[in-house]
Amino acid sequence: MKKIKFLHLYSLVLSGMLGYFAYLGYVGKKFYNPDEITEKSKPGTRTYRGRTGSHFYHK
């Protein structure tokens, strides 16, 4: 019984992942897209634009 439960649960999780994968592919969205600036990732102003100092060797 436990075996059925765990494997079913795992299959369900993978089904969810597959569904989400299909959704992302359909709407043209990357799961992880650090280069894209969205409202969530935007720190509030445009002044951060360009190098922020994290690349110290350009300073």
Partner: protein, 423 residues
């Protein structure tokens, strides 16, 4: 007095105790003085010796009744056995009796329990002389241990001669099952055992404080009762389905170049902005890939690109950094890339233009290098999503394999026939 009168009076200590299997007993051990009696001839029990009474006592009292795996049992005997030559390697056995079905035994070592029954049929066994494996009932059993034993302590009744320990024991495992082969000069008996949790025993016989589990039992199944192979198979199926979907997305993707242009630093206006010409995107809610190229030479370029829908004012923004360095240090080396791309998600169809905010690395650099080329492709397939799915779908199988290896390694640490390299 009859040898089978009940309650029975021990001839040695004259204390009484209740017989359970009565005439079926070959051995009797008084639970009070631990004197061993063996049936010799008809109805005549002969005193043999006194067994040790100083070591551990039974955790399930003689006469305890309970329903275990659907069968009514009564505990008629208890013994402690040890591997000959290794007295510290001792285990406990409880003889169980059912008037209709006969006998079974519960064996306990380090808090791990097994319920054993004698096989009525001689198993059809395929032997493999190189690995000592045997096959029984479509399962492959591996040789786990081979030993002789001594009886250290016993009490109650037994349907066999407890004093006769002149036999070899071979144990083969296929968790949660164990096959035991007891071989002597005049007998060859097989027993099939199944791992059983102590909670089942506590519930069946209404006992508490059974020994805690130590280490991994020889026939202990993996917790959760699933195998890494099954998890891996399921994951592989889903990854395959995802790959099929990805192939379909790739096949259907138009990958249309909607914009392409080369810009120079001199085109920046006073606000250091470059505005592109207008262009049209036909594919609704699709990914737009922006490919940047700059002929960098020990320099860098950051481009903040803003895609603006001229009809709705909706904005999409991305930041891409390019850097390329090279030199000689014990040979030619390079670092970074002159080209890179960034994806804007779910861009609706419509009329657009770009605003670029370039940040050129070295103001004093060569003028001909202060340029960059932009190409925008609409409706591109996103391969990275498949990689993420493969990564997530691999985590559980990897964990399951590591867990299985760890448990199997520890299980076989108690065996002389470990397939693992163990010290």
């Amino acid at each position: 007095m009859s040898a089978f009168s009940n309650p029975h009076t021990c001839p040695t200590c004259l204390k009484t105790w209740n017989l359970i299997i009565q005439a079926q007993a070959i051995s009797r051990v008084c639970p009070h003085c631990h004197s061993l009696f063996i049936l010799r001839g008809k109805n005549r029990f002969e005193s043999q010796k006194k067994l040790d009474s100083s070591i551990h006592t039974s955790k399930i009292p003689l006469g305890s009744k309970g329903i275990l795996r659907g069968t009514n049992y009564e505990v008629c005997g208890f013994s402690i056995k040890a591997e000959r030559g290794s007295p510290n390697y001792a285990w406990r056995e409880y003889m169980l009796f059912n008037p209709e079905l006969g006998y079974a035994s519960l064996s306990e070592y380090n808090g791990h329990w097994g319920l054993f029954e004698e096989l009525n049929e001689f198993p059809r066994i395929k032997t493999n002389s190189t690995t000592h494996d045997i096959a029984y009932q479509e399962r492959s059993f591996q040789l786990f241990s081979r030993y002789r034993f001594n009886v250290l302590k016993a009490e109650g009744e037994f349907p066999f001669d407890l004093s006769n320990t002149d036999c070899k024991i071979f144990e083969f495992i296929s968790p949660p099952y164990t096959l035991v082969n007891e071989v002597s000069d005049d007998s060859n008996n097989w027993y099939l055992g199944e791992y059983i949790n102590k909670s089942e025993i506590e519930k069946a016989f209404q006992v508490t404080a059974l020994p805690q589990r130590l280490g991994v039992g020889a026939a202990q199944p993996l917790a959760g009762n699933f195998k890494a192979k099954e998890i891996t198979t399921i994951s592989a199926v889903f990854v395959f389905l995802a790959a099929l979907l990805q192939a379909a997305f790739g096949y259907m993707a138009a990958e249309e170049v909607v914009f392409s242009h080369t810009y120079y630093r001199s085109e920046m206006d006073t606000s250091k902005t470059i505005r592109s010409g207008s262009f049209h995107i036909q594919h609704d809610q699709k990914a737009l890939e922006l490919i940047l190229f700059s002929p960098l030479n020990n320099n860098w370029l950051d481009v903040d690109a803003e895609l603006i829908n001229e009809e709705t004012g909706e904005r999409f923004e991305a930041l891409k950094s390019l850097e390329f360095y090279s030199g000689y240090d014990e040979g030619y080396w390079t670092e970074g890339d002159k080209e890179g791309s960034v994806v804007l998600s779910s861009v609706p169809k419509g009329r657009y233009h770009f605003n670029f905010y370039p940040d050129f690395g070295s103001p004093g650099g060569l003028l001909e290098n202060d340029k960059f080329t932009v190409e925008a492709k609409s409706d591109v397939p996103l391969f990275s999503n498949l990689l993420w799915l493969i990564l997530f779908a691999s985590l559980v199988p990897i964990f399951a394999h590591l867990r299985e290896y760890y448990l199997e390694y520890n299980r076989w640490a108690n065996s002389d026939f470990s397939p693992y390299h163990q010290e």
